[in-house]
């Protein structure tokens, strides 16, 4: 076998074909995208001083007078996330059953539900928030609506998938004792799918907290509005406070949820 001084570990010494093709496709896509996304390394490098000075500006002592209001806003953000997630939970449980192949009453229902859920989670929360603000006005209500709506899309799907991988034997056992349609679902499917589902719910809650934080951007409640205003008015100390506030709450929720997860799952 003839090999050049340096070669790859393949029969002919060249990289494997699948790898080459994948790279070519990815590279091609990126090359196409670069001008459209205005990727310009020079511009990037030129902007580093401005970025650094910006970060330098942010790292100032936060204005303590802002803290009470920040706290209120963060609380509002947290409340929005919790409320929306709870509402979505209540709605997703029955929808999940309808959208799971093994518990759905009819294949047509199954397909319809799946498509509906797909549609509900397709658009980001912010788009729905824009729409709902336009419909019901400013405040946390449109935010909660937007969050709940999109969350049902995700939760419904997760829950349906958890139900679909459930073990068949306990189901047969319950059915053999003459349990009704609803009873089978409550006592045979639900307990099995629960651990997975709780895991997904915690993950979704974390995500919703972050999402709630930005919905304020369009006036749908939460700390997002303050964030944008602070940027526009170059209120640097506020930006830092808000960023830290968000980070702290997310980190706290993260710890709580891993703790809760390890105890329940």
């Amino acid at each position: 076998m003839k090999y050049l001084p340096l070669c790859w570990p393949t029969r002919n010494g060249l990289p494997p074909l699948a790898l080459v093709i994948s790279f070519a496709v990815v590279f091609g896509a990126l090359a196409w995208a670069a001008p459209i996304a205005e990727i310009n390394p020079l511009r990037l490098i030129a902007s580093v001083p401005r970025l650094l000075s910006f970060i330098g500006n942010i790292l100032v002592m936060p204005d303590a007078q802002y803290f009470p209001e920040l706290f209120r806003k963060m609380l509002e953000t947290l409340e929005m996330a919790m409320l929306a997630t709870s509402i979505a939970l209540a709605i997703s449980l029955p929808l999940g059953f309808l959208a799971a192949k093994n518990t759905s009453p009819h294949p047509a229902v199954f397909h319809f539900m799946r498509t509906l859920l797909s549609f509900m989670r397709a658009l980001p929360e912010l788009v729905w928030a824009l729409v709902f603000v336009s419909a019901v006005g400013l405040g946390p209500l449109p935010g909660v609506m937007a969050l709940a709506f999109v969350t049902v899309g995700f939760m419904g799907k997760f829950f349906a998938e958890s139900i679909e991988v459930v073990d068949a034997k306990p189901i047969e056992g319950v059915e053999a004792h003459g349990a009704g349609w609803l009873q089978v679902r409550t006592f045979a499917y639900l307990p099995q799918a629960m651990p997975d589902f709780i895991g997904s719910t915690l993950y979704i809650l974390e995500h919703n907290l972050r999402a709630a934080a930005i919905l304020g951007l369009v006036g749908a409640g939460g700390v997002g509005y303050d964030m944008v205003m602070a940027m526009r008015l170059f209120d640097y100390d506020r930006i830092l406070s808000i960023a830290l506030g968000i980070y702290l709450i997310v980190a706290l929720l993260d710890r709580l949820s891993s703790h809760f997860r390890s105890r329940v799952i």
């Binding site: 896509a29 990126l30 205005e38 970025l51 788009v127 419909a135 930005i214 964030m227």
Partner: protein, 261 residues
Amino acid sequence: MKNLSATPPKKPFNSLPVWFSLWIALLWLIVFDLDISLQMLLYGLDDMAEYFSRYAEPDFSDLPRYLHLMMQTIATALWGTLIALVFAFLLAPFAARNLTPNKVTYRLAREVLNFLRALPDLLLALIFVAALGLGPLPGALALGVHTAGFLGKFFAESLERVDKGVIEAIQATGASRSQVVMYAGWPSILREAIGYTLYIVDRNVRMASVLGLVGAGGIGLALHDTLRFFKYGESAALIVVILTVILAFDYFSTWMRGKLT
């Protein structure tokens, strides 16, 4: 009751109803605090039927422009994912307990990844727009930095699950740490890694459509404008375009991930 051989044990205290009631009470408090009233919602619902009917006739007259903006969104998402991939590729081995050189680097890498994940992309986009000006580039950066946190965490968790024996075997040949990562680590998790990356591409296409609201790329801004000026027909058209592309991408990436398993 008939004579039993012993007294039956007391039924254990079931805390579930207590937790459930507490939860409902909490939700009620929240509704009160957020000043949301059912009335407002119901009035809203009534209005909403009428409101949504305004979107019934999408106006596609500006379609070429919308499509261009959507292309921009996808391009932003692709580059954002690339940036995330590079960061995650470099950081993940340090955030994996079995491949990291020492406890300090492990903790540091983990915290960096957590920090990147915690900041909402929108906040990052705002910062990058302030530093770089308007356009899709700051959007790509914001997406890249934020999703690097997710991708890095996914990769690190996958790397931690690699068979200890395989890692030892490569270490035992006298290979350096980075060689161990490259030969025992990445090849073992390649499938999962590609799956996660596709998931992130999908997510970034979604987010990119929204970053436009802060001036980091087109289509979000267009939707904001049309809604602000109550141009419902055009808003409807924009939503349809965004929805179609996102759903198509979603379908494509799910199909690709299916082919991997």
